[in-house]
C-alpha cells in the first residue's frame, strides 16, 4: 500500500522534521516568478471533501497544481452519496479512474483510516471530525520555525492553546506537533470545552498564563456550541478567553498570535489582527501551500529534489 499522511503521531518526529525541511524547498519554489515545477507531472490528486472547506481545498489544489499534478474535485453536494452510494463505493469508483492520492476531509473522526482500507492510493487527511488535521499542524510548525528561526526545534517555547479544545482537530494535531518538537503546550479552556479525561497542562484562566508564553494560539469558537450549554454565551466566552485589546496590550513583543481560521471577529479575536504586532495568521495561510506541496511531493514524488529544478510550462 502507498504511504499516507493520516495523523501527526503516525508521521512521527522524523517524518515531521523531514516534511518541514522539504517545505523549505517549496517555499523557495513559491518565491520564483513562475512558482510551478514539473515534479508531479502525470500524477492525479483527488480532493474528496465531505465537509465544506473552501480554504483547505483551495490550498491543496494550489499545492498540487504548483507541482504539476492533475487534480479532481469531489464535493459531496454534487455527488452520488446523496443517491445512497456508500463511501466505499464512491472511493472505489474514483480510484478505478486512476488516482494517486486522495485528499479527504470528512466530518466523521476516523473516515480517512477507513478509506485507506479500500484504496491503494495515498491518503492525505485534510481533517476528520474532532480528531486530526495534520497539514494544519505542519503549517503551524512551519510558521513558528521560520518566523522564530528555530530550525533545531522548539525547546523552551511556551504555547497557550485557547478555546474549544474538545471539538477541535486542530488543537489535537497542533498540540501533538508542538510537543514533538519540544514546546510546552498549555490548554486554556473551561472544563466543558476540554476532552473529558484530560487534566494535565490545563488552566481555565487566560490571564494566568499571558505573561509567560511565547505563542498564543486561538481556536475558532463555533456559535452552535451555545446551544449545547457548553458556555453560557459568547460575551462571557470573550470576557474569559478572548484576545481583548487589554490582553493584547499585555503580550510581550516577542509573542506570536496564531489562528487556524476562519476567525470569529469579536469573539475569540476581539482585536483587529492587523494591529497585532505578533500576528502570523496570514503567514499561516501562505505556509499552508508550502507544507501541502511538501506532503504531496513526499508521498508522490521521485524523492529527488532535482525534480524541483526548472519550471513547468504555465
Amino acid at each position: 500500500m502507498s504511504r499516507s499522511l493520516l495523523s501527526i503521531s503516525d508521521l512521527g518526529e522524523t517524518g515531521l522534521r523531514r516534511l518541514l525541511s522539504i517545505a523549505d524547498h517549496m517555499a523557495e519554489v513559491n518565491r520564483r516568478p513562475n512558482p510551478k515545477v514539473p515534479a508531479l507531472r502525470g500524477k492525479t490528486v483527488c480532493n474528496l471533501f465531505f465537509e465544506d472547506s473552501t480554504r483547505t481545498r483551495l490550498s491543496f489544489e494550489t499545492a498540487a497544481k504548483r507541482l504539476s499534478a492533475d487534480t479532481m474535485n469531489f464535493a459531496v453536494s454534487q455527488s452520488s452519496l446523496n443517491k445512497g452510494e456508500s463511501l466505499r463505493d464512491t472511493v472505489e469508483t474514483i480510484a478505478a479512474m486512476g488516482v494517486d492520492a486522495f485528499v479527504i476531509r470528512h466530518g466523521s473522526s476516523g473516515a480517512p483510516w477507513q478509506l485507506g482500507a479500500w484504496t491503494n492510493a495515498s491518503v492525505i487527511n485534510a481533517g476528520d471530525g474532532w480528531h486530526a488535521h495534520p497539514t494544519q499542524a505542519l503549517l503551524d510548525m512551519y510558521t513558528v520555525r521560520t518566523t522564530l528561526n528555530r530550525l533545531e526545534g522548539f525547546d523552551g517555547l511556551s504555547v497557550a492553546m485557547v478555546g474549544d479544545i474538545k471539538h477541535s482537530r486542530v488543537a489535537r494535531s497542533t498540540t501533538e506537533a508542538f510537543k514533538m518538537l519540544g514546546a510546552d503546550v498549555t490548554w486554556v479552556a473551561p472544563r466543558t470545552l476540554l476532552p473529558p479525561s484530560h487534566r494535565e497542562h490545563v488552566v481555565s484562566n487566560l490571564d494566568e498564563v499571558l505573561d509567560d508564553i511565547d505563542i498564543v494560539y486561538l481556536l475558532r469558537m463555533q456559535k452552535e456550541r451555545m446551544n449545547e450549554a457548553l458556555v453560557p454565551n459568547l460575551r462571557e466566552y470573550t470576557t474569559r478567553f478572548g484576545l481583548t485589546p487589554e490582553r493584547a496590550a499585555r503580550l510581550g513583543d516577542h509573542v506570536l498570535v496564531m489562528h487556524p481560521g476562519p476567525m470569529n471577529r469579536g469573539v475569540e479575536m476581539a482585536v483587529d489582527p492587523s494591529e497585532l504586532r505578533g500576528s502570523v495568521i496570514n503567514q499561516q495561510v501562505t505556509n499552508g501551500i508550502n507544507v501541502r506541496m511538501a506532503v504531496l511531493f513526499d508521498l508522490l514524488g521521485s524523492g529527488s529534489e532535482n525534480s524541483l529544478a526548472g519550471s513547468a510550462e504555465v
Binding site: 456508500s86 463511501l87 466505499r88 470528512h106 473522526s109 471530525g129 480528531h131 473529558p196
Partner: protein
C-alpha cells in the same frame, strides 16, 4: 412443540448441572431423558453420540438476542439466528422486541414464536416491548402479552427515559408474573456518542458515552424496584459502578437480576483506535477496570447470566463512518469460547450463567436448564471445554459477519446440541 420420537444415547460425558458434576451416559427417548448411568448399552436404531472428554450440560439460554425478523431479514432471520444459537449450544433464546413491527402485540409475538417453531433449532422466546413501538410514550398491553407467554419486557435499544412512565410500568407489572428488563442509558448523556468516554475517546476525537449514563438509570430502576416491589432485570451491564449498584441492591434483598455480554468481559475501548465499526456497540466497550469488575460480578453472583446481545448488521452498515454505523456485534456462536477463555471461575459456574440461571429469569426453568435426570426434557449441550479455536466470519451461520472476535483466541467449543430430544447440531454442524 412436539418432541422428536428418535432415540439417542450420549456416552462417557462429564455431566454438569445444577446438582454438580459426575460421569455418566444419558439415554434420551421421545424428547425426555429416560436413563442416566454408567456403561449403558445402545439399543436398536438408537443414535450414539460419543462425549468422551466433553461436558454434557443443560442447554444454554440466551436472554438477549436480536433476530431482526420481522423487518430486517437482510441482516438475520429467525431461522438463521436460531441456527447460530444451536451452534452456540443454546436451546432457548429470548428475541428482543426491536423488530419492525415492534413486538408489542400478540400478533407479532405469535409470529416470532411460530417462525422459531418452523426453524425447529431452539426455542424462540419472544420478549415484548415496555412501550408501544418502543417510543417511550404508552405502555404495551402487558397482560395480553403475558397471556401469550411473554415473560420479559424491554425497550432494548433504548432505555425508558420517562421515570413516571417507568414507575407505572413496574407497578402495573408487579402482579402479572412478568419482569421488566431495562436497557440502562440516559439518552441526554449519550447524544452522538460512539464509544466509552475516557482517555481513549479524547485521543480519537470521538464523542464519549459516559459510564454515568448507564449507572444513573441502574440506580433509578433499583429505587423503583424498592418502591414498587416488581422485579427488574438489567440488560448488558458494562461498568464497574453498575456492578456495585446491583451488588448493593441484592444485598438489600431486592428482586433484581443482571446479565453481562461476552464482549464486555473480553474487549476494551482501545480497539476503537482502529476506527472499525465492528467495535461499536451499545453500551460501549469499556476499560480493563470495568472488565475486571464485570468478571468479579459474574464470579460472586452479582451478575446472574451471560447473555450475548447478538446484534447482526449487514456489512455495508458496518463500513459507514463510526458515528453513522449502527451499534452491535454477533455473539451466539462465540459466547462459550469467549466465556471460558476470559472467566477465571469454575466451569460449573460458567455453565450456570449460561444455562439454568438465565432459564430462571426467562421463565423457562420448567424445560431449560434442568438437571440431567430421568424424566427431564432433553435440552442438552455437549461441548469440548479445552478446544482452542478462532472464529472465521465466513463460516458463521448468521447472515451477518460483524463478529468482533476475529483473531481473539477462544477456549471451548460446542460439539452437539440436543433440542427437545433431537440432535440439531452434530460434530459442530447444524443438522437443519
Amino acid at each position: 412443540m412436539k418432541p422428536t420420537t428418535s432415540k439417542l444415547l450420549i456416552t462417557k460425558g462429564r455431566l454438569i448441572d445444577a446438582g454438580g458434576e459426575r460421569s455418566a451416559d444419558v439415554r434420551i427417548a421421545n424428547g425426555v431423558v429416560v436413563e442416566v448411568g454408567v456403561g449403558l448399552l445402545s439399543g436398536d436404531g438408537e443414535q450414539v453420540v460419543d462425549a468422551a472428554g466433553m461436558v454434557v450440560c443443560p442447554g444454554f439460554v440466551d436472554l438477549h438476542v436480536h433476530l431482526r425478523e420481522p423487518g430486517r431479514e437482510e441482516a438475520e432471520t429467525i431461522e438463521t439466528g436460531s441456527r447460530g444459537a444451536a451452534l452456540g449450544g443454546f436451546t432457548a433464546i429470548v428475541a428482543m422486541p426491536n423488530t419492525d413491527p415492534t413486538q408489542d402485540s400478540v400478533g407479532v409475538v405469535e409470529f416470532v414464536r411460530q417462525q422459531g417453531e418452523r426453524a425447529g433449532l431452539c426455542e424462540v422466546l419472544p420478549s415484548g416491548s415496555i412501550t408501544i413501538g418502543r417510543r417511550g410514550e404508552t405502555l404495551t398491553p402487558f397482560a395480553e402479552l403475558a397471556a401469550a407467554g411473554v415473560r420479559l419486557f424491554t425497550d432494548d435499544g433504548n432505555g425508558v427515559q420517562d421515570p413516571q412512565l417507568m414507575r407505572r410500568a413496574y407497578e402495573y407489572a408487579s402482579d402479572l408474573g412478568i419482569t421488566m428488563a431495562q436497557h440502562c442509558e440516559v439518552e441526554r448523556l449519550t447524544e452522538g456518542a460512539v464509544m466509552h468516554e475516557g482517555s481513549c475517546c479524547s485521543h480519537l476525537g470521538l464523542p464519549g458515552w459516559p459510564s454515568l449514563a448507564e449507572e444513573l438509570m441502574v440506580h433509578r430502576d433499583i429505587e423503583l424496584v424498592r418502591l414498587t416491589g416488581a422485579p427488574a432485570h438489567f440488560l448488558h451491564l458494562s461498568t464497574a459502578g453498575s456492578v456495585e449498584l446491583v451488588r448493593k441492591a441484592k444485598a438489600d434483598g431486592l428482586a433484581v437480576t443482571a446479565e453481562a455480554t461476552p464482549h464486555h468481559i473480553s474487549l476494551t475501548d482501545e480497539l476503537l483506535t482502529s476506527y472499525s465499526a465492528l467495535y461499536k456497540v451499545t453500551p460501549p466497550l469499556r476499560t480493563m477496570d470495568d472488565i475486571i469488575a464485570i468478571r468479579e460480578g459474574l464470579r460472586d453472583g452479582t451478575i446472574d447470566a451471560i447473555a450475548t446481545d447478538h446484534a447482526p448488521h449487514v456489512s455495508e452498515s458496518k463500513e459507514l463512518p463510526l458515528d453513522q454505523a449502527p451499534p452491535g456485534m454477533l455473539g451466539l456462536e462465540t459466547a462459550l469460547g469467549v466465556s471460558i477463555a476470559h472467566l477465571d471461575m469454575p466451569l460449573v459456574d460458567i455453565v450456570a450463567a449460561l444455562s439454568w440461571k438465565p432459564a430462571e429469569i426467562a421463565g423457562v426453568a420448567d424445560r431449560h436448564g434442568r438437571p440431567i435426570e430421568v424424566g427431564e426434557p432433553a435440552n442438552l449441550t455437549v461441548f469440548d471445554p479445552a478446544e482452542q479455536w478462532e472464529v472465521v466470519p465466513g463460516q458463521l451461520a448468521s447472515k451477518s459477519r460483524n463478529t468482533p472476535f476475529v483473531g481473539v483466541p477462544l477456549t471451548g467449543r460446542v460439539k452437539h446440541t440436543v433440542f427437545n430430544g433431537e440432535v440439531v447440531v452434530l460434530d459442530g454442524v447444524a443438522q437443519k
